[in-house]
Symmetry: C2
Subunit: 249 residues, 2 copies
């Protein structure tokens, strides 16, 4: 499994991904799911991947080996929309090559899901979610974030906190708490977390953070959040409608 989040906020873009992959619960490995395509001062494109690792790795490899070829590629497309089309097309290409296999009674899902965000000079930052069939949707003011992979455990906290105007650093705090909830509930999502914050219009070199099990800030958030939740919970009153029955004992 996988958990990836990306946000398009007023202040810029946020990307985060876990690193655990598994082919069955007895075959677990660590792979980076955040892929950068940069051209300093001109564009930053970030791709997060989930789903079939063979498919998503192939898509990333093809996107990389084509950046120097004379065809539409992630270095020469002039809009993030065109970048999304390119990723979708490449995903369909890999699926057409590898996805026709019918195992002996085995159902294999060859699909890959992607979050693609970034900024190309001349445009504002944009963020897309690209589905297995290669089609995609774009984040808007009302829905500033997307998730792929194991999204449910970590969604409530994002829904409560993140809005279009949330600052990048607050969004990063919220995202790490969202990862904490997910890591606790699903063993197939695992550390380290790769996180990248991009300030709109900065076009500066990307400096992804790698958050592993010894990261002091992540520890502090885990502890503070867990204790804080328990404190809020303890202070909330109990229902009165059970008391009469309790007294009977």
């Amino acid at each position: 499994m996988t958990y990836c989040v990306a946000m398009r906020l007023e202040a810029g873009l946020l990307f985060a991904s876990d690193s655990r992959t598994n082919a069955g619960i007895d075959h677990i490995a660590s792979f980076r799911k955040m892929h950068l395509f940069e051209q300093p001062d001109e564009r930053l494109i970030v791709l997060l991947s989930a789903g079939n690792l063979a498919t998503t790795q192939s898509v990333v490899s093809l996107l990389r080996q084509r950046v120097d070829q004379d065809r539409p590629n992630l270095r020469n497309v002039t809009s993030m929309y065109d970048a999304a089309v390119l990723v979708g097309t490449t995903s369909k290409e890999v699926y057409a090559r590898d996805g026709c296999y019918q195992g002996a009674g085995q159902s294999v899902d060859f699909g890959g899901d992607f979050l693609l965000g970034g900024q190309i000079r001349g445009e504002a930052p944009r963020l897309f979610q690209i589905y297995s069939p290669g089609n995609f949707i774009e984040a808007t003011f009302d829905t500033p974030y997307f998730q792929i992979g194991e999204s449910k455990y970590g969604k409530p906290i994002i829904d409560r906190v993140v809005r279009h105007h949330t600052s990048l650093i607050e969004a990063a705090k919220c995202t790490l708490i969202s990862f904490d909830s997910t890591l606790r509930s699903n063993l197939s999502v695992g550390l380290p977390i790769d996180m990248l914050l991009y300030q709109a219009n900065s076009f500066c070199q990307a400096k992804p953070q790698r958050i592993d099990q010894d990261d002091p800030y992540f520890h502090l958030l885990q502890k503070g959040w867990g204790e804080g939740l328990k404190r809020v919970f303890a202070r909330l009153p109990n229902a009165s409608w059970f008391e009469p029955e309790a007294k009977k004992e």
Copy 2:
């Protein structure tokens, strides 16, 4: 969709279920998913259902119309284990009758999932999760709760709070918060919530609570929890590793 939770704690049993069913997003209805089989002073058996409504309603109807027949039924089985076997067998019977339909290109899931808990005199309270194929598992000291239906959004808070020794009234508070998170994230889970707390060895008449949109306690929890989370979140520090980049702007 559906969300049901049941807990087997030191103090007794807790059951909670939402009331929304849907056959497609354009066909939403309200059905009670909590079914009681009582014999005052002798047994209380509670069945929560999720999955295909036709299947689960049939299972409940058959269990009900057989309580007066001269065969194993929920009024004469001598253990909760035998009650679980009975529900599993009845579920298989309905599936064998209705589940063979192959729609024209449509894939219909005829399966039903159940949580079955209760106490029969001579035994401690017990709780089972019964799967579509009719097999089942029992709650233990280490895993005191089960969920069926849309379980993920509301799981993290239960995992943080509920232990075997948690009191029923605290577990009820936690369960309602878990429902709040689920209701916010999945429109196919809906009010009213049916909730039943059963004190171990009380064998008293069950008094389920129905919590609808006007319930003042549920309102208070929703508000207090939401505000509390935001307060905890606001007090947690921001990451220091983003500050240098922020200063550049």
